[in-house]
Symmetry: C2
Subunit: 280 residues, 2 copies
């Protein structure tokens, strides 16, 4: 496993792998890896890719009052996890390597970036799209792997790829959950034991909705959302949104069917958590 | 010379040329070709490139009150000119081929896109950057050719390429002028004979400034700009701006030196024209 820090090293290694006929699989991460990331990496390796993982806590996607400074970091642990997975290359750039002091350019996907998470994290997805576009240009992958946990991010990245004529297949991988049902996230580390118990209400509400749809055939969004909100509001957490939407454009839907999902966010103490159920 | 209309044809031809070890040279145009375009193409061919020229009048870079509909088009003439230059590929996509109905993504270079032209054409450079990013992703060129005539565009594209880690060399080519001094532009077609005479005041003013700098060693921007404005205002045209700026960031400069330029725009009747002098 090669660990590299420079853009020109990425280009050289990727070019060389392409010359050898390799399919490039790219997994962008902010590090502090968990089972969710590992499932993306295993998918890339199962697909036979020459697999490059990036670890970069991207300042551009954090708001001024958000957790950029305290976002969990543990490179030693990350690298040891990646080595066990037989990753080919880990790209760990510094902020100065990724952004010049005079950086200006933004890649934006308006409309769908302003919904749901966008209302609570203005500018977040522009930061995500900008860094992902840069990383795509550096790694020129054939396939890039994203988790359904960050459903809105996945949908926005897919849209960006189509709109900008990037020749990359975006591979989506199901959300990985801990045994208690909580969706795997680096931010779960912020939760105290008591907060974690409270946080479970989001996955519990989504699980209840899933059962109503799939076992009881209840597909009326209003009924499902009302049930979900009732469950969430029974716990000492702040419900930020719970919405049934079309997956392609994140427009509200009145009936759950294929290509819709229910996306939610709560705040537990100071910690924001997101989760969803998707009908692909 | 191959004439193609589809994105997948571009990818196939470029991939095949790269396999044969070719360096890809890309010249994006909006058609209605003139000597300025031809000088870009000749530079690409002189550089030994497998040369692809795009002809696409990009709706995204025209404001609602601008000349998208009436922008001059003459594909038959363009193709015959390109054939004589031994261009390898001409890519002529339709608007529907370039943009899906649900297109959303924008590539923006804030700050420098809002200066000079940006004040008169809000959103223009976002339209330019978005289509150029798409065309770059489709043609994956090693080199792309832009004229100094559109100095702000050239500077913004260079910035976008650096900021987004696009692995493309932007080659800049000097402005080509007609024998009367008017900078070559497809929009010159809009000018009546009388308007054309009036329009010459811009290149005349810039030429006077050039002489003051290079022959008389006058480098005080205030003096140079005042002289230029006086010349322009002596004619029946509307001066929109005439500014001395740093080439890299388009910030005003008080003294002309290397890496500065004086950029101007006038309106003659209903026709906007731009021109500049550059000290590289």
């Amino acid at each position: 496993m090669e660990i590299i820090h420079r853009k020109n090293e990425v280009r050289t290694i990727i070019k060389e792998a392409k010359t050898r006929g390799k399919i490039i699989g790219f997994v962008p991460t902010m590090g502090y890896l968990h089972h969710g990331h590992i499932s993306l990496i295993r998918k890339a390796i199962a697909d036979g890719c020459f697999t490059i993982v990036s670890i970069f806590v991207n300042p551009l996607q954090f708001g001024p009052d958000e957790d950029f400074q305290r976002y969990p970091r543990d490179l030693v642990r990350d690298l040891s996890m990646l080595k066990k997975e037989f990753v080919d290359v880990v790209f760990v750039p510094s902020t100065d390597e990724m952004y010049t002091k005079s950086h200006l350019t933004e890649v934006r996907v308006p409309v769908i970036s302003e919904k749901l998470e966008g209302k609570f994290r203005p500018g977040h997805f522009t930061g995500v799209c900008t860094v992902v576009a840069k990383l795509f240009n550096l790694t020129s992958p054939d396939k890039a792997y994203f988790g359904w946990k960050d459903a809105q991010q996945l949908i926005i990245i897919k849209k960006m790829v189509v709109d900008l004529d990037l020749h990359i297949e975006i591979v989506s991988v199901p959300t990985v959950r801990d045994s208690d049902g909580l969706a795997a996230s680096s931010r779960n580390k912020y939760l105290s034991e008591q907060e974690r118990k409270k946080a479970l209400v989001l996955s519990r509400a989504l699980q209840k909705i899933k059962e109503m749809v799939e076992l009881e055939n209840i597909t009326d969004s209003e009924v499902l959302i009302a049930t979900g909100k009732k469950i969430i509001n029974s716990e000492d957490v702040e419900l930020q949104y719970l919405e049934a939407v079309e997956l392609e454009n994140l427009e509200p839907v009145s009936v759950i069917k294929n290509n819709t999902g229910i996306l939610g966010a709560i705040k537990v103490g100071k910690v924001r958590l997101i989760d969803n159920i998707i009908w692909e």
